[in-house]
């Protein structure tokens, strides 16, 4: 009897230790990747990296200015197209999404969120690139918007749901119609949360490469024309990483470092705001 109890305790503490180990092992790659990015990328980051565009192979110097500006423009386009749709869908789900229709939309949003980004890339190609006859930043932005909308819809819904019902009731009791209550009281109260949702979604799409492969295509030169192919940070990191030159690899690490700082900063800010919001609610 004593034996059994000791054995059970032993199994218990062993398995507890195993879960500690699993957590440590899971965090290890994050540390390894961040460490490697700093180690290999930080040395190549200087002023030129941010203000100069890519140069032909063999020439020294050059930077990622074209890619950084490209990413800002393409993500900006994605937000212009996707944010209104995502936020409106999110408010719809929170305010009117109780029934079967709301359930369906929620389900579709989750399924759409799981569609591989490469599939969304070829969809954007058939819809925008093929009819227009050329690759363009516009098509890239739209492809990213398709990825952004379902994420934003779900986070917006969650944030709007956090608004206490007493606020809604107060608005209605003052004689506001439902739509004014929803827009002026509920949505405004959830405003910070909705902005956070946008940050989360932007962090996610800013690092996407696959949907841009056949839409924005990438560009060795500095370009701000929406109708023309445009460089993007993840695209350029990819092209440089799989290319044969050491100089390219060096720059790929630097580009990756800039990209991850951008993405992690957005994620961490969003997380901090969400946490503060949840504690208030």
């Amino acid at each position: 009897m004593m034996h059994g109890r000791i054995a059970r305790r032993l199994v218990g503490s062993t398995m507890t230790g195993v879960t500690y180990g699993a957590a440590a092992l899971a965090i290890l790659p994050l540390a390894a990747i961040l460490g490697m990015l700093l180690l290999k990328g930080a040395g190549s980051i200087n002023w030129d990296f941010f203000v100069k565009s890519a140069v032909p192979v063999g020439e020294p110097g050059g930077g990622f200015a074209n890619a950084i500006v490209g990413t800002l423009i393409i993500v900006g386009l994605a937000c212009t197209v996707g944010v209104p749709i995502g936020v409106a869908t999110g408010i719809f789900l929170a305010e009117f999404g109780g029934g079967r229709f709301g359930f369906t939309i929620r389900f579709v949003a989750d399924v759409l969120n799981g569609v591989p980004s490469i599939v969304i890339g070829i969809f954007a190609w058939t819809w925008l690139v093929k009819p227009m006859g050329h690759f363009s930043a516009l098509a890239g932005g739209c492809a990213l918007a398709v990825i952004l909308v379902p994420i934003l819809a779900r986070t917006t819904e969650e944030m709007v749901r956090l608004v206490p019902n007493s606020l809604r009731e107060a608005g209605l009791a003052l004689g506001y119609p439902r739509w004014r209550t929803s827009l002026l009281i509920v949505a405004r109260t959830a405003g910070a949360g909705i902005v956070t949702g946008c940050l989360v979604a932007v962090a996610r799409v800013a690092g996407e490469t696959a949907p841009l492969l056949f839409t924005a295509l990438g560009n060795q030169f500095f370009s701000t024309r929406l109708q023309a192919p445009m460089a993007a940070l993840p695209l350029q990191v990819y092209n440089y990483a799989v290319g044969p030159y050491d100089e390219w690899h060096r720059q790929a690490w630097a580009g990756a470092l800039v990209l991850i700082v951008l993405v992690l900063a957005l994620s961490l800010i969003a997380r901090a705001v969400v946490r503060a919001k949840r504690q208030h609610a």
Binding site: A88, P116, E158
Partner: protein, 334 residues
């Protein structure tokens, strides 16, 4: 706050008769109708996009479907020059690399989820969960870069020389190991899907009512026995859902896999040999397709991938929702 105009309107004023007030309450404001309609139209865009993607894939894949039929899925020739296409290596490679990823990631992710909900000291839970979820925020292309320059050399120069003596008799470890391989792809994928599985499982475990936990402990079970015999079985559907959600991610993952899997159209049981996945083939060949039928074949595999991931994701959602009906579990696991 200013007083809303509606309060000052006559029909809502106290002087109005009971009947007038009742009528005012019954009428729906036209603004409400417009508001609801506009939001509904926006919300309808999501299913519209999903249906359009399906239609576009179907239409563009049709020439290949008509030419190759279902034999497309079971043949392994992929010859763009002669116009012969069979997707077996792609489908096999996609499933195989995802399976490897799950074999590595599931035990680790479950361990993390249990650690974060049951065993970890309180102060460490939130920071540790954040760190694990940040893994999901790292862009795919950065995993690929790390895979090419760190993981592959590590596997080739340090892991395999040591492990070879113990493992090389296994058929799944046959042949010469050059680096880019299903193994490298699977390991990268496992790191990428781990945070999803861990985050969703964690939320599922958090949704288990405390009374279940207390009942287990009150019956004299140790904390581990409570986890193993009470909590995990209670959340089983949700955890299976989390794993399937991770599978969905792994199947569709593109860039990191493309960069490390070796990209060869071949069916090989050995993890050490190069392979190919559907997503990687589209990424590599789409913009360089040599003929219309080549392009159409790529749409065909794209459609296959789309259908698989839709089915997998739908199943996962249903399972997760069974634990916490309609809640946003998993969608916050960015």
């Amino acid at each position: 706050m200013t007083i809303p105009a509606a309060v000052l309107e006559p029909e809502a004023s106290p002087q109005a008769t009971a009947e007038e007030r009742w009528r005012a309450l019954k009428t729906v404001s036209p603004g409400d109708v417009v508001y609801r309609t506009v939001l509904t139209v926006f919300a309808l865009l999501l299913p519209l996009v999903l249906v359009t993607i399906a239609l576009e894939l179907g239409v563009n894949a049709w020439p290949a479907v008509a030419k190759f039929g279902f034999g497309f899925l079971t043949h392994s020739t992929w010859d763009p020059v002669r116009g012969e296409f069979g997707a077996l290596p792609l489908i096999f490679g996609t499933l195989y690399s995802s399976l490897v990823a799950l074999v590595i990631a599931v035990p680790l992710a479950l361990g993390c989820a249990i650690f974060l909900t049951e065993f970890a000291p309180r102060w460490i839970r939130t920071p540790a969960a954040t760190l694990i979820e940040l893994l999901a925020a790292v862009p795919s292309v950065i995993y690929g870069l790390w895979g090419i320059f760190v993981l592959i050399p590590l596997l080739r120069d340090h892991f395999w020389p040591v492990a070879r003596h113990a493992l090389s008799w296994l058929p799944i470890f046959g042949g010469v190991f050059y680096g880019p391989s299903v193994l490298a792809g699977g390991v990268i994928l496992s790191i990428m899907v781990l945070p999803y599985i861990a985050a969703v499982s964690r939320e599922v475990l958090l949704a288990v009512p405390p009374s279940q936990r207390e009942a287990g402990l009150a019956l004299g079970a140790t904390r581990w026995e409570t986890v193993w015999t009470v909590i995990l079985p209670y959340g089983r559907a949700g955890i299976i859902g989390a794993v399937i959600l991770g599978l969905g991610r792994a199947l569709g993952e593109t860039m990191a896999v493309t960069m490390v899997i070796g990209n060869r159209h071949e069916v090989s049981a050995s993890l050490l040999q190069p392979g190919y996945t559907i997503a990687a083939a589209i990424a590599n060949e789409f913009s360089e397709a040599v003929s219309d039928i080549h392009l159409s074949a790529l749409f065909f595999v794209g459609a296959v991938l789309f259908l698989i991931t839709i089915a997998v994701n739908a199943l996962a959602r249903v399972l997760v929702w069974r634990v916490a009906r309609g809640s946003a579990i998993g969608s916050t696991a960015i």
